[in-house]
Homo-oligomer: 502 residues x 2
């Protein structure tokens, strides 16, 4: 067995060290399992793998609640054996996605800042029955030192009847001290979250637990299954350039401090590329208040441009993870992980004045955003934290390529096929073509600037034609739509394989 | 001239008393005019009427920024002479609505909590040039005592170059002391909003201004043009009954304190009816943290059930206004008006754990809400504060009648024709038919309970048929839609006058 004695500092607790199989045996069919993990970082691995083995034989299902997406040893293993009845609040796993889009898995796509409180309120179908949390170590007082993410772990541990701690020896002990755990009281007793700067500490460096609340301790040495980021292509570079020009002008106009405001940047390749681009920007003394800390943030720290990054998860590429572990002595001075309830809090996003930068699947000419559904029906990943930040940021950007699938899809459409962020929530749209600043504009004004600045030339005349005809058909109504045509581009793609008219 | 000498307590300032015409002459074409007013309450009347007269002769336009909707002497008078180029952030006036839906007026429909900060940030097309604010009085220090609403007045005064104060003698001096004015600093200097209970006071009872900043003072005696509320019908009573049953069960299940959590209730007849219904409920020691204080709140105070109501505006019916003025000595102890930036703040809504109750135009089977647009194109009123509260409340309700226009419209549709609140934001739907509790449900689960509990029997089979066929057509995808049919109910209504198939 992997030796974790040193990491279980409370001597009495060492008697609770068991195998993954033994711990997994505590789980009953139909239970709500709340785990650590946010992106493929800091999620439990050994117990879920053992649980999947058990489910394969015994055929039953559980409900899986996490921070966000998690790695294949958890989402993948359980989905592949058909072990998940209900999944929340976010996922990016192929097996899960297939289950969601074939009716095998019921998926609840939630704002990430809502999850912990909804689980405490008992709004998600009962409370957490079992918490499974990956840890670096357990303190003498029986508190839990998390690993590469914090997510909803602290709340799940607080609510659960059974707490299983997976001590992962692949996670360096230098992670200790990089967390700031704060669980708000629930209404009517909640108090202000006393954060006014990205680096403010308001909680404890461990998840409060105590020895009695820990049921089992399981050793594990499987590393986080981090994934490579796509190479930064010309389109991504163009978007990053547009962003920098735009922010420079905001500074010039007196609408933005010289060192900007705390940056939030979403998941995926475009988001990472945009952050990487800031390395070559003139901006200094930046700060980050975000969910996910990707490779770009390390670039900014190394370049001496980033003073501090607050997030809920470390999600580097495989190379980035090596680099992080090698430089952890320095990185740990500039990075803090918080519960996602705090990292994504509307309260802090608005107070700090986040610059919110997220990626869309598509947006429409009137400024609505689809972040989640392919052609209106198929779930891609989920809304994640994009709504927490977009609604409450100081300045809200959405990025996307103007086209997808080799040009057969226009990512700017007459009407979105699904809506995650409304016209009321977005300030600026960016594609590789340019920037549409829609602040203070009416829907028709927005439509014109989005068509002119963001759409692909192949689709610009079609969009303009729709807008012109819709204005005529509705006698110039507030948001002119021809409802019989509004979704026809998507219908055409589904029928012919292209949004282009033949 | 109306005598306002006593109400201008700073003696030197009395020299700035001018006629409405003289004050209106300071306004130049193209200026951004920021006024007091939120619902037909506390808006300036004399200067706008004089401005409308001037515009009739001189033919020019201004941009009008307010708290929310305002009375006919402001919105109506200016719209009727074609004097408004851009209007924000909310309206309910027939002339304005006509202008918006014919292309004559550009309308920017904003979350009401966003307006003050966006105006300070300079995001709305420049800053406020002229502030026109209705007041009870001006203090010796030159500060402004507001009247029946607070809205964005304080921020507009802070930003404006020219400040015009309309002293309205129809507003009783007992309003003094009923306001709590707090303007947050902007990022990166913003601090927590230190409210933890509905009755917490954090600011001043006046709008900070100072004598030098006041340009003109204008006397006025035109009363607020408050409007009658529709009679409470059986459908509204049924919805109110459903709400009370639901909340009772939440208490029983331990998910809600016995005296509930602070109530927010939207505008309009349904919202008022729901609040009125609480008079006959078993709930005691209620509190309210809302935008608009309507007649129902007075009923609750008189019944001894409401400990405190915080809002940004007093919007009673004509009878309610008489009752309020008559009982102001008692009501003022239990009512406080705040800037809408604070009343509607996501920070306080979430901390206090608001019960958010708003009305929808339509919602769809998957739980998205349209609050603003008739048949996707025509603006009704605007999103108002519904998004501020719905997204951040402890428990979020949307109410609507299951049908409209004598049954030719189903307010529950396959897909909304416009989206203001997404599936991620709503917990409970209520129609006269029943209650759909969609917490923790996947889209397909939501669809079934919405059809079963909320839809009208005339439309239930059609909705079920759509859902069943969409599940088949998409092979059971996450959110099954047949895009070529999703909006066909609206198209049919536009073409035939009914959503029912012939
Ligand atoms: C929207 C999102 C999926 C984009 O991620 P990305 O890695 O930048 O996206 P890609 O460009 O690789 O596109 C992903 C897929 O969608 C497809 N796609 C892109 N635009 C499309 C469109 N308009 N219509 C249909 N499909 C589209 C791509 O072709 C690609 O398909 P594939 O998987 O078959 O190759 C991702 O950002 C996301 O999940 N966002 C929601 C959550 C979020 O914002 N979290 C951040 C909060 S902190
Ligand atoms: C949605 C809203 C318009 C409903 O107001 P209400 O007074 O309860 O609504 P009514 O039932 O009288 O309906 C208003 C009109 O819409 C029509 N209508 C109702 N449902 C409809 C539907 N599904 N499709 C088309 N029209 C519909 C009604 O027939 C009525 O038309 P009319 O003016 O021609 O008579 C109103 O609540 C609103 O503006 N909400 C958005 C702002 C908000 O929520 N603010 C509160 C934040 S604190």
């Amino acid at each position: 067995m992997i030796n974790i004695t040193d990491r279980v500092r409370n001597v009495a607790l060492r008697s609770k060290i068991v195998s993954a199989e033994e711990a997994a045996a505590a789980i009953k069919p139909g239970m709500n399992i709340g785990t650590s993990g946010f992106t493929p970082a800091g999620y439990p691995k050994a117990v879920p793998l053992a649980l999947a083995e058990r489910i394969k034989k015994e055929k039953f299902q559980i409900n899986l609640w996490t921070g966000a997406s998690v790695g294949k040893e958890l989402d993948g293993a359980l989905a592949e054996v058909g072990g998940i009845q209900k999944r929340l609040p976010y996922q990016t796993n192929d097996a899960i996605r297939k289950g969601i889009n074939s009716g095998a898995i019921q998926y609840v796509d939630l704002h990430l800042s809502h999850v912990a409180q909804m689980s405490r309120y008992g709004f998600l179908g009962g409370k957490v029955d079992v918490a499974i949390v990956e840890a670096c170590a357990i303190t003498e007082e029986g508190h839990i030192i998390p690993t590469t993410s914090l997510g909803n772990s602290a709340s799940f541990v607080q609510s659960a009847d059974i707490v299983i701690v997976e001590i992962n020896t692949s996670q360096p002990m230098e992670l200790e001290g990089m967390h700031d755990v704060y669980i708000p009281l629930d209404p009517p007793n909640r108090q202000p979250v006393p954060i006014v700067k990205a680096n403010d500490r308001i909680g404890t460096p461990y998840i409060p637990c105590g020895p009695d609340k820990i049921t089992y301790i399981v050793p594990c040495d499987i590393p986080d299954a981090v994934r490579p980021l796509a190479a930064i292509d010309d389109d991504a570079k163009a978007m990053s350039g547009h962003l920098i020009d735009f922010l420079n002008n905001e500074i010039k106009q007196g609408r933005m401090p010289k060192n900007l405001l705390p940056l939030q940047s979403g998941v995926g390749s475009v988001a990472n590329a945009v952050v990487c681009g800031l390395v070559d920007s003139p901006f200094q003394n930046l700060s980050v208040f975000t969910e996910v800390i990707q490779d770009g943030m390390f670039d900014l720290i190394d370049a001496g441009k980033l003073d501090f990054a607050s997030g809920t998860s470390l999600t580097p590429s495989p190379d980035g993870l090596k680099r992080f572990y090698a430089g952890i002595g320095e990185y740990r001075k500039k990075i803090l992980l918080r519960p996602q309830e705090i990292a994504n809090s509307p309260e802090t996003a608005r107070r700090l004045g986040i610059i919110a930068m997220n990626t869309a699947i598509e947006f429409d000419i009137f400024g609505h955003v689809n972040s989640t559904h392919i052609m209106g029906s198929k779930m891609m990943n989920g809304i994640g934290g994009s709504g927490d930040f977009a609604r409450n940021g100081y300045l809200t950007f959405f990025f996307t390529n103007s086209i997808a699938k080799n040009g057969d899809i226009s990512s700017i459409v007459p009407m979105c096929s699904h809506f995650d962020h409304t016209e009321h929530d977005v300030d600026v749209f960016v594609t590789e073509r340019g920037v549409a600043d829609v602040r203070g504009l009416s829907p028709k004004e927005r439509a014109q600037v989005i068509i002119d600045k963001c759409a692909h030339p192949d689709y610009q005349p079609m969009l303009q034609d729709y807008l012109d005809r819709a204005i005529k058909a509705t006698k110039n109504a507030h948001t002119p739509h021809i409802l019989s045509e509004a979704l026809s581009w998507h219908v055409r793609f589904l029928e012919t394989g292209s949004m282009k008219s033949k």
